[in-house]
Symmetry: C2
Subunit: 323 residues, 2 copies
DNA sequence: TACACCCTGTGTACGCCATAAACACCCAAG
DNA sequence: CTTGGGTGTTTATGGCGTACACAGGGTGTA
């Protein structure tokens, strides 16, 4: 914990920090561990291997890190630093290389959205955060494996969390709903990344076991005659050109969340929220914008009326039980 | 693999199966292992402990099971047998006790839906499958942990998979979309269960480390002053009465999927699909049913018109390429 | 300058894990 | 009776995290 949050504290540089050479060092350890985990997965990470990689004995690590679990916590946060700032906030040019290739598929039809202004749409921002998390997990798949153990959030993790919350906080959802939404999306990203790990793992253990694996698979698919739907989908080629499961899932998820947001607010939509939503405020049906005049907010009189009724009735956002 | 799928094969009962007492036995091993994992999690499962629990030496297990991984595969499928049949298909009353308490919150407003007929709604069926998976994972949280390793699906897993696919297959989505939807929901259930494991794990390691843990938490929350949104949500009580994260997530997910289904088909809605959707066929807005006469299918003339236009334009249901 | 101390790195050791290999037994088929 | 396979045991190997005692060197103080 102290180690995780030791940013502004201590470390004034006055110590023995001289030749910068052979001293073991928390950062060196963490960096070596990250490299190792990148290459061999979290299961392949051992104190021994980390120490070997640095040319020290195993136990030397324990002078700097309490134990393996805490090392993983540190690795997690070290890596999460990569998304520290969505490039474009102070921090004069340090010239890092950065991958920066994302934003490839972009879900479904839903237009690119021209939101550029200060507020941007919550959906756009939430999606961006999710994609950032996804990119990081593609570079460091073990991040997803590090779930399940005692997970102390570091400063970078919290910062990312805060950013996601901030994106959703302006939607008019209740506090607990905001949290639920962000957790949901976060878990989705992790779950998706876990699938990556699974695939990588399978690939690593390839070679000898691969034929056995595919033999089993083959035998399996022969048994599948009993399962009509699987067989049909197989024959129709559903497995040949699979969807991009991350993009697909994210789109569904955001659609579902958007529906909730619409249902909840529907009414007091300030213009900031408004110009990013692309459909009827009530039901989400895409609504054709007239050639001239003010763009329509509802797809139909029925929806407009419904919105009015809700505005009348609801008043308070039903968040907590009123006294 | 052979072990996993050894259902209808062999085992005619003609062997040495006599006193039914002290022989080690695959089923006994698997059962003991499941008990152990239920109690201590997958990490606490070791060949030694399983053997000890049965009163044999460690190595004796290897006479019946190739290794730990395969044992886990067997455990998984053994446990998945609990959802073999969604109670109500032949199988004369065996009088199992069964939990059967679910269906508590049921998402949001969305009416109970009276679907009882043969087809039932795809959403209802998919949701039921998801809840089944969820219930099983609440009984056996290690199921979620067993992801990530090489995962050979057993007959029960495949049966469940088939059931979910069948639920979605009638929606008019493309084959790859059907697969993506089912995978998405399946992963969601697992991810949600993983969170359970995490909590349980934290609870198990309680006692001494708990104060340290909460101490850290406390110190953490003091740092949170830097994060305005987190602080605000905290102060507004969002963390005090959290949403049921499974129910919430599932509702969002299904909403998103339903939107896709509507967008895809929109048109040729056969009556089977129809009487389960509770809202406007196009936009999903809840539509009040008139006191007398045929229930309305659209919330507004606009939506009716839109449906008509799409019906004109689309023609074929675009599910598979027509000859 | 001398002494003490602490910080860091090391070596050894323990207990846990999965599993390979060789051995012991018992029952049934030849 | 011999023989052989199924079954359980013993012993051993190599990997893991980490506790503990120790060593050496730089530093603060006398």
């Amino acid at each position: 914990m102290d180690l995780l949050w030791r940013d502004a504290d201590a470390d004034p540089g006055g110590g023995t920090r001289r030749g910068a050479r052979q001293g073991l060092d928390l950062d060196r350890i963490v960096r070596a561990a990250v490299e190792l985990a990148d290459a061999e997965g979290l299961a392949g990470l051992s104190m021994r291997k980390v120490a070997d990689r640095l040319g020290f004995t195993t136990m030397s690590l324990y002078r700097h890190v309490p134990g393996r679990d805490q090392l993983v916590d540190l690795m997690r946060d070290a890596v999460l630093a990569e998304l520290a700032e969505p490039p474009g906030t102070h921090d004069e040019g340090r010239g890092e290389e950065r991958g920066e290739e994302h934003r490839e598929g972009h879900g479904e039809g839903r237009g690119e959205g021209r939101g550029e202004g200060r507020g941007r749409g919550w959906r756009e921002r939430l999606e961006a955060s999710a994609r950032q998390g996804w990119e990081i997990r593609r570079r460091h798949p073990w991040l997803a494996e590090a779930r399940g153990v005692r997970h102390l959030p570091g400063p970078n993790a919290v910062a990312h969390y805060e950013r996601m919350l901030a994106a959703v906080a302006g939607t008019g959802l209740s506090p607990s709903e905001v949290l639920a939404v962000v957790n949901l999306v976060g878990r989705f990203v992790d779950a998706e990344a876990l699938q990556l790990v699974e695939a990588a793992e399978a690939e690593r253990r390839s070679g000898v076991s691969d034929e056995e694996w595919w033999g089993a698979r083959q035998a399996l698919f022969e048994r599948f005659e009993r399962y009509p739907t699987i067989t049909r989908l197989w024959e129709e080629g559903g497995y040949d050109h699979p969807e991009d499961s991350f993009a697909f899932g994210l789109a569904r998820l955001l659609d579902g969340i958007e529906l909730l947001v619409r249902r909840r607010s529907g009414a007091e939509v300030s213009d900031e929220t408004r110009d990013e939503t692309s459909g009827c405020r009530v039901c989400g049906t895409p609504v054709e914008r007239p050639a001239s005049g003010r763009p329509r907010a509802y797809c139909s009189p029925a929806c407009r009326q419904r919105a009015y009724r809700e505005r009348r009735a609801a008043g308070a956002p039903r968040t907590r039980e009123a006294p």
